[in-house]
Protein backbone atom coordinates (compact mmCIF):
# COMPACT_ATOMS: atom_id res chain seq x y z
CA UNK A 1 0.00 0.00 0.00
CA UNK A 2 2.85 2.35 0.89
CA UNK A 3 4.55 1.39 -2.36
CA UNK A 4 1.42 2.41 -4.26
CA UNK A 5 1.49 5.88 -2.70
CA UNK A 6 5.22 6.27 -3.35
CA UNK A 7 4.86 5.21 -6.98
CA UNK A 8 1.88 7.50 -7.53
CA UNK A 9 3.72 10.38 -5.83
CA UNK A 10 6.81 9.93 -7.98
CA UNK A 11 4.77 9.71 -11.21
CA UNK A 12 2.74 12.77 -10.29
CA UNK A 13 5.84 14.76 -9.37
CA UNK A 14 7.67 13.75 -12.55
CA UNK A 15 4.62 14.73 -14.58
CA UNK A 16 4.37 18.10 -12.82
CA UNK A 17 8.01 18.86 -13.51
CA UNK A 18 7.74 17.78 -17.13
CA UNK A 19 4.50 19.53 -18.05
CA UNK A 20 2.12 21.39 -15.81
CA UNK A 21 -0.71 21.58 -18.35
CA UNK A 22 -0.62 17.87 -19.02
CA UNK A 23 -0.65 17.10 -15.32
CA UNK A 24 -3.72 19.27 -14.84
CA UNK A 25 -5.32 17.43 -17.73
CA UNK A 26 -4.38 14.09 -16.13
CA UNK A 27 -6.06 15.06 -12.87
CA UNK A 28 -9.13 16.16 -14.75
CA UNK A 29 -9.27 12.77 -16.49
CA UNK A 30 -8.72 11.04 -13.13
CA UNK A 31 -11.76 12.81 -11.70
CA UNK A 32 -13.86 12.07 -14.77
CA UNK A 33 -13.01 8.36 -14.68
CA UNK A 34 -13.74 8.23 -10.99
CA UNK A 35 -17.09 9.93 -11.36
CA UNK A 36 -18.19 7.20 -13.81
CA UNK A 37 -17.53 4.58 -11.14
CA UNK A 38 -18.02 6.48 -7.88
CA UNK A 39 -21.82 6.31 -7.67
CA UNK A 40 -21.68 2.53 -7.97
CA UNK A 41 -19.44 2.44 -4.92
CA UNK A 42 -22.49 3.27 -2.79
CA UNK A 43 -24.48 0.30 -4.11
CA UNK A 44 -21.50 -2.01 -4.05
CA UNK A 45 -20.56 -1.14 -0.47
CA UNK A 46 -24.11 -1.61 0.81
CA UNK A 47 -24.70 -4.84 -1.09
CA UNK A 48 -21.32 -6.31 -0.20
CA UNK A 49 -21.61 -5.53 3.50
CA UNK A 50 -25.17 -6.84 3.79
CA UNK A 51 -24.36 -10.00 1.81
CA UNK A 52 -21.30 -10.79 3.92
CA UNK A 53 -23.50 -10.53 6.98
CA UNK A 54 -26.08 -12.98 5.70
CA UNK A 55 -23.52 -15.20 4.08
CA UNK A 56 -20.56 -15.49 6.42
CA UNK A 57 -18.24 -17.23 4.02
CA UNK A 58 -16.06 -18.86 6.66
CA UNK A 59 -18.98 -20.30 8.50
CA UNK A 60 -20.52 -21.57 5.30
CA UNK A 61 -17.36 -23.22 4.03
CA UNK A 62 -16.81 -24.84 7.43
CA UNK A 63 -20.25 -26.36 7.26
CA UNK A 64 -19.69 -27.44 3.67
CA UNK A 65 -16.56 -29.32 4.56
CA UNK A 66 -18.54 -32.08 6.27
CA UNK A 67 -17.37 -35.31 4.71
CA UNK A 68 -20.52 -35.81 2.69
CA UNK A 69 -19.81 -34.54 -0.76
CA UNK A 70 -16.80 -32.68 -2.06
CA UNK A 71 -18.65 -31.84 -5.25
CA UNK A 72 -21.61 -30.31 -3.44
CA UNK A 73 -19.34 -28.45 -1.03
CA UNK A 74 -17.29 -27.05 -3.88
CA UNK A 75 -20.36 -26.04 -5.86
CA UNK A 76 -21.74 -24.14 -2.88
CA UNK A 77 -18.35 -22.57 -2.22
CA UNK A 78 -18.21 -21.40 -5.84
CA UNK A 79 -21.71 -19.95 -5.52
CA UNK A 80 -20.77 -18.16 -2.29
CA UNK A 81 -17.64 -16.74 -3.92
CA UNK A 82 -19.60 -15.51 -6.91
CA UNK A 83 -22.10 -13.68 -4.72
CA UNK A 84 -19.69 -12.22 -2.18
CA UNK A 85 -17.28 -9.36 -2.71
CA UNK A 86 -14.51 -9.45 -0.15
CA UNK A 87 -11.16 -7.65 -0.44
CA UNK A 88 -8.22 -10.02 -0.85
CA UNK A 89 -6.74 -8.67 2.37
CA UNK A 90 -9.67 -10.22 4.23
CA UNK A 91 -10.39 -13.20 1.99
CA UNK A 92 -7.00 -14.92 1.93
CA UNK A 93 -6.40 -14.96 5.68
CA UNK A 94 -9.89 -16.47 5.90
CA UNK A 95 -8.97 -19.11 3.30
CA UNK A 96 -5.76 -19.83 5.18
CA UNK A 97 -7.61 -20.42 8.42
CA UNK A 98 -10.12 -22.67 6.64
CA UNK A 99 -7.33 -24.87 5.32
CA UNK A 100 -5.83 -25.06 8.81
CA UNK A 101 -9.19 -26.23 10.11
CA UNK A 102 -9.15 -29.07 7.64
CA UNK A 103 -11.42 -27.69 4.92
CA UNK A 104 -10.33 -29.37 1.64
CA UNK A 105 -8.21 -27.29 -0.73
CA UNK A 106 -10.78 -27.93 -3.45
CA UNK A 107 -13.48 -26.10 -1.52
CA UNK A 108 -11.18 -23.24 -0.58
CA UNK A 109 -10.10 -22.93 -4.22
CA UNK A 110 -13.73 -22.87 -5.34
CA UNK A 111 -14.47 -20.03 -3.01
CA UNK A 112 -11.34 -17.95 -3.67
CA UNK A 113 -11.29 -18.35 -7.45
CA UNK A 114 -14.94 -17.55 -8.00
CA UNK A 115 -14.61 -14.67 -5.54
CA UNK A 116 -12.01 -13.15 -7.84
CA UNK A 117 -13.44 -14.14 -11.23
CA UNK A 118 -17.20 -13.76 -10.86
CA UNK A 119 -18.84 -10.66 -9.42
CA UNK A 120 -22.54 -10.50 -8.76
CA UNK A 121 -22.24 -7.37 -6.66
CA UNK A 122 -20.14 -5.53 -9.22
CA UNK A 123 -22.35 -6.70 -12.08
CA UNK A 124 -24.36 -3.45 -12.42
CA UNK A 125 -21.12 -1.49 -12.81
CA UNK A 126 -19.74 -4.00 -15.27
CA UNK A 127 -22.96 -3.94 -17.22
CA UNK A 128 -22.83 -0.18 -17.49
CA UNK A 129 -19.22 -0.22 -18.66
CA UNK A 130 -19.19 -3.23 -21.01
CA UNK A 131 -22.83 -3.59 -21.99
CA UNK A 132 -25.26 -6.30 -20.86
CA UNK A 133 -24.19 -9.01 -23.25
CA UNK A 134 -20.47 -8.64 -22.68
CA UNK A 135 -20.90 -8.42 -18.90
CA UNK A 136 -23.07 -11.55 -18.83
CA UNK A 137 -20.74 -13.53 -21.06
CA UNK A 138 -17.68 -12.38 -19.13
CA UNK A 139 -19.15 -13.54 -15.82
CA UNK A 140 -20.26 -16.83 -17.35
CA UNK A 141 -16.71 -17.33 -18.60
CA UNK A 142 -15.42 -16.43 -15.14
CA UNK A 143 -17.66 -19.07 -13.63
CA UNK A 144 -16.49 -21.70 -16.10
CA UNK A 145 -12.87 -20.81 -15.36
CA UNK A 146 -13.49 -20.95 -11.61
CA UNK A 147 -15.00 -24.44 -11.94
CA UNK A 148 -12.11 -25.67 -14.09
CA UNK A 149 -9.53 -24.20 -11.73
CA UNK A 150 -11.26 -25.72 -8.70
CA UNK A 151 -11.23 -29.18 -10.26
CA UNK A 152 -7.57 -28.76 -11.21
CA UNK A 153 -6.64 -27.77 -7.65
CA UNK A 154 -8.58 -30.79 -6.38
CA UNK A 155 -6.54 -33.07 -8.63
CA UNK A 156 -3.22 -31.41 -7.72
CA UNK A 157 -3.92 -31.88 -4.00
CA UNK A 158 -5.13 -35.45 -4.47
CA UNK A 159 -8.63 -34.67 -3.22
CA UNK A 160 -10.19 -35.53 -6.58
CA UNK A 161 -9.04 -38.73 -8.22
CA UNK A 162 -9.62 -38.65 -11.94
Amino acid sequence: MVALYIITGICLLASLIADRGRTAEALKIAWKRFSAVGPYLVDITILASVLIYFLPAGDLARRLSGKKSLALGSALAIAAGAIALIPGLVAFPLCGSLVKQGVPYTIVAGFSTSLMMVGLVTFPLERKMLGTRAALLRNAAGLAMAVATTIAIGIVYGEIRP
Binding site: T8, F34, S49, P87, M129, R133, I153, V156
Partner: protein
Protein backbone atom coordinates in the same frame (compact mmCIF):
# COMPACT_ATOMS: atom_id res chain seq x y z
CA UNK B 1 -28.09 16.21 -10.44
CA UNK B 2 -30.37 13.63 -12.02
CA UNK B 3 -32.95 11.41 -10.35
CA UNK B 4 -30.62 8.44 -10.28
CA UNK B 5 -27.94 10.35 -8.40
CA UNK B 6 -30.51 11.64 -5.93
CA UNK B 7 -31.82 8.12 -5.36
CA UNK B 8 -28.29 6.94 -4.74
CA UNK B 9 -27.57 9.68 -2.23
CA UNK B 10 -30.83 8.86 -0.49
CA UNK B 11 -29.92 5.17 -0.38
CA UNK B 12 -26.48 5.93 1.00
CA UNK B 13 -27.94 8.27 3.63
CA UNK B 14 -30.59 5.72 4.63
CA UNK B 15 -27.91 3.08 4.99
CA UNK B 16 -25.77 5.41 7.12
CA UNK B 17 -28.77 6.19 9.29
CA UNK B 18 -29.53 2.48 9.69
CA UNK B 19 -25.96 1.88 10.89
CA UNK B 20 -26.10 4.86 13.27
CA UNK B 21 -29.45 3.78 14.74
CA UNK B 22 -28.17 0.21 15.06
CA UNK B 23 -25.23 1.47 17.10
CA UNK B 24 -27.47 3.60 19.28
CA UNK B 25 -29.97 0.80 19.85
CA UNK B 26 -27.38 -1.98 20.12
CA UNK B 27 -28.87 -3.83 17.13
CA UNK B 28 -26.10 -6.37 16.47
CA UNK B 29 -26.79 -7.24 12.81
CA UNK B 30 -26.69 -3.53 11.95
CA UNK B 31 -23.44 -3.03 13.83
CA UNK B 32 -21.92 -6.02 12.07
CA UNK B 33 -23.05 -4.82 8.65
CA UNK B 34 -21.62 -1.39 9.47
CA UNK B 35 -18.28 -2.98 10.31
CA UNK B 36 -18.31 -4.85 6.98
CA UNK B 37 -19.09 -1.65 5.12
CA UNK B 38 -16.29 0.21 6.88
CA UNK B 39 -13.71 -2.50 6.09
CA UNK B 40 -14.74 -2.53 2.47
CA UNK B 41 -14.94 1.23 2.07
CA UNK B 42 -11.60 1.87 3.81
CA UNK B 43 -9.97 -0.60 1.47
CA UNK B 44 -11.37 1.31 -1.50
CA UNK B 45 -10.62 4.78 -0.12
CA UNK B 46 -6.98 3.82 0.39
CA UNK B 47 -6.55 2.52 -3.14
CA UNK B 48 -8.82 4.61 -5.36
CA UNK B 49 -7.10 8.04 -5.28
CA UNK B 50 -3.78 6.55 -6.39
CA UNK B 51 -5.42 4.27 -8.93
CA UNK B 52 -7.36 7.04 -10.64
CA UNK B 53 -4.43 9.49 -10.61
CA UNK B 54 -2.36 6.81 -12.35
CA UNK B 55 -5.18 6.27 -14.86
CA UNK B 56 -5.24 10.02 -15.55
CA UNK B 57 -1.47 10.19 -16.01
CA UNK B 58 -1.61 7.16 -18.28
CA UNK B 59 -4.24 8.74 -20.51
CA UNK B 60 -2.53 12.11 -20.76
CA UNK B 61 1.03 10.87 -21.31
CA UNK B 62 0.80 7.64 -23.29
CA UNK B 63 0.02 8.26 -26.92
CA UNK B 64 -2.59 6.32 -28.74
CA UNK B 65 -0.29 5.14 -31.45
CA UNK B 66 1.90 3.24 -29.00
CA UNK B 67 -0.98 1.41 -27.32
CA UNK B 68 -2.53 0.62 -30.68
CA UNK B 69 0.72 -0.90 -31.88
CA UNK B 70 1.32 -3.04 -28.78
CA UNK B 71 -2.23 -3.84 -27.63
CA UNK B 72 -4.25 -3.39 -30.80
CA UNK B 73 -5.81 -6.01 -33.01
CA UNK B 74 -2.61 -6.45 -35.01
CA UNK B 75 -0.38 -7.01 -31.98
CA UNK B 76 -1.19 -10.73 -31.73
CA UNK B 77 -0.19 -12.77 -28.70
CA UNK B 78 2.29 -10.09 -27.62
CA UNK B 79 -0.61 -7.75 -26.94
CA UNK B 80 -2.11 -10.32 -24.60
CA UNK B 81 1.20 -10.78 -22.79
CA UNK B 82 1.41 -7.01 -22.28
CA UNK B 83 -2.13 -7.04 -20.93
CA UNK B 84 -1.23 -9.79 -18.44
CA UNK B 85 1.88 -7.87 -17.34
CA UNK B 86 -0.21 -4.74 -16.87
CA UNK B 87 -2.91 -6.65 -15.01
CA UNK B 88 -0.40 -8.12 -12.59
CA UNK B 89 0.36 -4.57 -11.47
CA UNK B 90 -3.30 -3.69 -11.02
CA UNK B 91 -4.82 -2.80 -7.66
CA UNK B 92 -8.34 -2.64 -6.28
CA UNK B 93 -10.19 -5.27 -8.25
CA UNK B 94 -12.81 -4.72 -10.91
CA UNK B 95 -13.73 -1.27 -9.63
CA UNK B 96 -10.34 -0.10 -10.86
CA UNK B 97 -9.79 -2.64 -13.65
CA UNK B 98 -12.90 -1.55 -15.59
CA UNK B 99 -11.84 2.13 -15.83
CA UNK B 100 -8.35 1.00 -16.82
CA UNK B 101 -9.95 -1.19 -19.49
CA UNK B 102 -11.82 1.86 -20.70
CA UNK B 103 -8.58 3.87 -20.94
CA UNK B 104 -6.98 1.04 -22.91
CA UNK B 105 -10.02 0.89 -25.16
CA UNK B 106 -9.81 4.63 -25.81
CA UNK B 107 -6.16 4.28 -26.72
CA UNK B 108 -6.93 1.59 -29.28
CA UNK B 109 -6.47 -1.74 -27.48
CA UNK B 110 -8.48 -4.57 -29.05
CA UNK B 111 -11.51 -6.09 -27.26
CA UNK B 112 -9.75 -9.46 -26.89
CA UNK B 113 -6.79 -7.78 -25.21
CA UNK B 114 -9.16 -5.90 -22.88
CA UNK B 115 -10.87 -9.17 -21.93
CA UNK B 116 -7.45 -10.65 -21.22
CA UNK B 117 -6.61 -7.65 -19.07
CA UNK B 118 -9.86 -7.90 -17.07
CA UNK B 119 -9.50 -11.66 -16.66
CA UNK B 120 -5.84 -11.50 -15.72
CA UNK B 121 -6.57 -8.75 -13.19
CA UNK B 122 -8.70 -11.33 -11.38
CA UNK B 123 -6.09 -14.07 -11.69
CA UNK B 124 -2.65 -12.58 -11.13
CA UNK B 125 -2.76 -9.18 -9.46
CA UNK B 126 0.60 -9.07 -7.74
CA UNK B 127 -0.45 -7.91 -4.24
CA UNK B 128 -3.23 -10.48 -4.24
CA UNK B 129 -0.95 -13.29 -5.40
CA UNK B 130 1.56 -12.50 -2.64
CA UNK B 131 -1.20 -12.66 -0.09
CA UNK B 132 -2.60 -15.88 -1.46
CA UNK B 133 0.82 -17.56 -1.53
CA UNK B 134 1.57 -16.58 2.04
CA UNK B 135 -1.72 -17.99 3.36
CA UNK B 136 -2.30 -20.97 1.08
CA UNK B 137 1.23 -21.83 -0.02
CA UNK B 138 3.16 -21.05 -3.18
CA UNK B 139 2.17 -24.43 -4.65
CA UNK B 140 -1.50 -23.53 -4.51
CA UNK B 141 -0.87 -20.20 -6.21
CA UNK B 142 1.31 -21.67 -8.96
CA UNK B 143 -1.15 -24.49 -9.69
CA UNK B 144 -4.06 -22.04 -9.81
CA UNK B 145 -2.30 -19.64 -12.14
CA UNK B 146 -1.00 -22.42 -14.38
CA UNK B 147 -4.61 -23.43 -15.03
CA UNK B 148 -6.36 -20.07 -14.93
CA UNK B 149 -4.06 -17.94 -17.08
CA UNK B 150 -4.23 -20.09 -20.24
CA UNK B 151 -8.00 -20.25 -19.74
CA UNK B 152 -8.16 -16.46 -19.60
CA UNK B 153 -6.39 -16.33 -22.98
CA UNK B 154 -8.73 -18.90 -24.53
CA UNK B 155 -11.83 -17.21 -23.19
CA UNK B 156 -10.77 -13.69 -24.17
CA UNK B 157 -10.60 -14.75 -27.80
CA UNK B 158 -13.96 -16.45 -27.50
CA UNK B 159 -15.57 -13.48 -25.73
CA UNK B 160 -14.25 -11.07 -28.34
CA UNK B 161 -15.79 -13.20 -31.07
CA UNK B 162 -19.12 -13.59 -29.26
CA UNK B 163 -19.48 -9.85 -28.65
CA UNK B 164 -18.09 -8.70 -31.98
CA UNK B 165 -21.49 -7.99 -33.51
CA UNK B 166 -22.81 -5.47 -31.00
CA UNK B 167 -22.20 -1.78 -30.53
CA UNK B 168 -18.90 -2.56 -28.81
CA UNK B 169 -17.47 -2.27 -25.33
CA UNK B 170 -17.81 0.91 -23.29
CA UNK B 171 -20.36 2.43 -25.63
CA UNK B 172 -22.39 3.98 -22.78
CA UNK B 173 -19.44 5.54 -21.00
CA UNK B 174 -19.15 9.27 -21.55
CA UNK B 175 -15.68 10.17 -22.87
Amino acid sequence: MNAQTRARIATGAAFGLFIAVSHAAGFNPGISIGRNARTFLMDMIMVLPCAFILIGLFESWVDRERIERHLGAAAGIKGHLWAIALASLAVGGLIVALPVGYSLHKKGASPAVIYTFLGAAAVCRFPMVLFEASFLGIGFTLARMAVALPLVLVFSGLLARLTAGGAGLFRDVKP
